[in-house]
């Protein structure tokens, strides 16, 4: 019955303490991130093959962390669109990650420098005599590609910053009209998000192999985004709860719900991934089966087969069995382990999507992958923790806060 009595909010509890490790993260993470990226560039410069390898590594890591920021943006949009009550206490974390999207607008620029290496299948000289690629040239050309890319990153940055700014302004003013304003803008926001994420998946991942046909690639990348955001939010929630008084407000009930959504959207990813594979396997048309053949058959496939099996087992079987029980989802340490596992296996997924398209002896997971992961990850988490530390950890004047605080699973 405690649930029926709204807890009083103490604003002092809602600031990240100076002594908390996340307060020290911004400087450390940004410095390490910049050092890693500059170091990688310094090691690669002068060697044409290594520059190319760095571009592929950077592209992989970029799309990995981008999926987290995009998933966060989608989470925020959906909470406003559905007028969700339960999620208010954890929404600020997603708002913060979505507000780092301008960083990904800046990190989009290196993709343009790596353009001819990454997208050589449709930008090279041979592509000019390729009828399939020529038929697509109205869409797949350098100018339109660049313009589209800029449109995507601008849409995301504007949405991410808009929601963060307005929600944090409500912390101070308590203005309830902000909530209804953000709710109204979430509907066109979701439409823009759906289109931009689908087309970004076509442009930045699918066009790495422009001979391949599939009708469900956009939703495949989206499924990864919306799965990984729950893993990210679980780990953020657990990190913030330890050593702060936020644990008075974000209860095991919210963690349980994030765990349920992680489990559910992981099954959604499996559903999408299997549906794509199943239809292609059944029809058995060469321009479609090529994608799976190069990841499982022949000499090239032999290198990628372990990754394919790791995805089937690690992205479905293991987390499906592990995260099913409520007893796991209600134990912070265990559900945190599950979330960490999903973060790792999501990288395997992104790597598996992108890297088999590059035929090179150097194409193994290696130092440049580590450096770009540390680099982009450092900047991503650095800026996110910088934003997190400057504002309240919970949208403290949200009109649905009481509902969220009182939330309990049956």
């Amino acid at each position: 019955m405690s649930s029926n009595h709204a807890k009083a909010i103490n604003p002092v509890d809602l600031a990240l303490p100076q002594t908390h490790w996340l307060s020290k993260l911004p400087v450390i993470a940004i410095v390490i991130g910049v050092l890693a990226l500059v170091g990688a560039l310094a090691m690669a410069l002068g060697n044409h093959e290594k520059v190319e390898l760095l571009q592929w590594s950077f592209h992989t890591s970029y799309l990995y962390f981008l999926s987290m920021a995009l998933g966060s943006l989608f989470f925020v949009l959906v909470q406003f669109a559905t007028r969700a009550g339960w999620s208010v206490v954890v929404r600020r974390f997603a708002e913060t990650y979505a507000a780092t999207l301008p960083l990904f607008a800046v990190l989009f620029i290196p993709m343009l420098f790596g353009f001819h290496s990454l997208f050589h299948h449709w930008t090279s000289e041979e592509a000019k005599s390729d009828p399939i690629i020529q038929a697509k040239s109205a869409f797949l050309n350098e100018q339109f590609f660049t313009v589209r890319g800029l449109v995507y990153v601008i849409i995301w940055s504007v949405l991410g910053v808009y929601y963060y700014r307005n929600s944090t302004r409500q912390d101070e003013t308590g203005d309830k009209s902000i909530t209804s304003k953000l709710q109204k803008s979430s509907y066109p926001g979701i439409a823009l998000f759906a289109l931009s994420v689908s087309f970004c998946a076509f442009d930045w991942i699918m066009s790495l192999n422009p001979h391949w046909y599939t009708t469900m690639f956009g939703v495949y990348y989206f499924a990864g985004c919306i799965m990984v955001v729950y893993a990210l939010m679980l780990l953020t929630t657990l990190s913030v709860r330890g050593g702060t008084k936020v644990s008075n407000y974000i209860s095991i009930e919210h963690i349980h719900d994030l765990g349920k959504l992680l489990f559910g959207f992981n099954v959604f990813w499996t559903y999408i991934a299997f549906s794509q594979y199943f239809l292609i396997w059944y029809a058995n048309i060469p321009e479609e089966t090529e994608f799976y053949a190069m990841r499982s058959l022949g000499e090239h496939g032999a290198h990628w087969l372990p990754w394919t099996i790791a995805l089937m087992v690690g992205h479905f079987v293991v987390p499906f069995a592990f995260l099913m029980s409520r007893h796991i989802k209600r134990r912070p340490l265990l559900v945190g382990l599950g979330a960490l596992w999903m973060l790792v296996i999501h990288y395997v997924d992104i790597h598996w999507l992108i890297r088999p398209n590059w035929h090179s002896e150097l194409n193994h997971f290696g130092l440049f992958d580590v450096l770009t992961l540390v680099g982009i990850g450092g900047l991503f988490f650095g800026f996110a923790s910088l934003l997190l530390k400057r504002k309240s950890l919970i949208p403290q004047k949200d009109p649905r806060l009481a509902e969220s605080l009182a939330f309990e699973n049956m």
């Binding site: 019955m1 649930s3 299997f274 199943f278 059944y282 058995n284 049956m410």
Partner: protein, 179 residues
């Protein structure tokens, strides 16, 4: 003695969710085993106040779901490789990819059966008669009143003492109900 054999138990009426919630906590702490709370709508947290153990339904669903899924796969394996092998689209007889939808559907079907029929079984439903229906006041349980019933078969039950205890816990009306 014969009177005690005919007795179903004691029924106590409470005016509000809060009253029945706190009374449940006390009844739970006194160690009663055969008792129940009756409310017109779900009262959040009442299962904790009553000290109920987690439901066994998830285990029934898991067992039946796994049975359905493995049964579905086994059925298709048997048909396609043993009973009536046919070449379809030039694919191997045992094409597990093609069998996934049926495997999935049978897993869901039996899991859902487990949830529905397991729930009915555990709740001993359908039940055509219940002793509490003898009480006229109990009709209010679907309207605006909250009840606790303690059964006579409970080892701690004593018609007078238990009735007195429930009155002290804030019951507005206490009555004995026959079998």
């Amino acid at each position: 003695m014969s009177q005690k054999q005919n007795l179903y138990g004691v029924l106590a009426e409470f005016p509000s969710p809060a009253a029945v919630y706190h009374a449940c906590e006390k009844v739970r702490d006194k160690g009663f085993k055969h008792w129940d709370a009756h409310t017109p709508f779900p009262v959040h947290g009442l299962e904790k106040a009553m000290g109920l153990k987690p439901s066994k339904i998830p285990w029934i669903v898991l067992a039946l779901g796994l049975t359905g899924a493995s049964g579905g796969m086994a059925l298709q394996w048997w048909i396609n490789t043993q009973a009536y092998p046919l070449v379809i689209s030039g694919k191997p007889f045992f094409s597990w990819q093609a069998f996934v939808p049926v495997t999935f559907e049978l897993g869901i079907l039996l899991g859902a059966f487990g949830a529905v029929f397991g729930m009915l079984f555990i709740n001993r439903l359908p039940m055509w008669y219940h002793s509490l229906f003898r009480s006229e006041r109990f009709e209010k349980v679907t309207d605006d009143k909250f009840f606790i019933s303690i059964e006579a078969c409970d080892p701690k039950f004593d018609a007078t003492a238990t009735s007195k205890m429930l009155s002290e816990l804030g019951a507005t009306h206490v009555e004995l109900v026959e079998q």
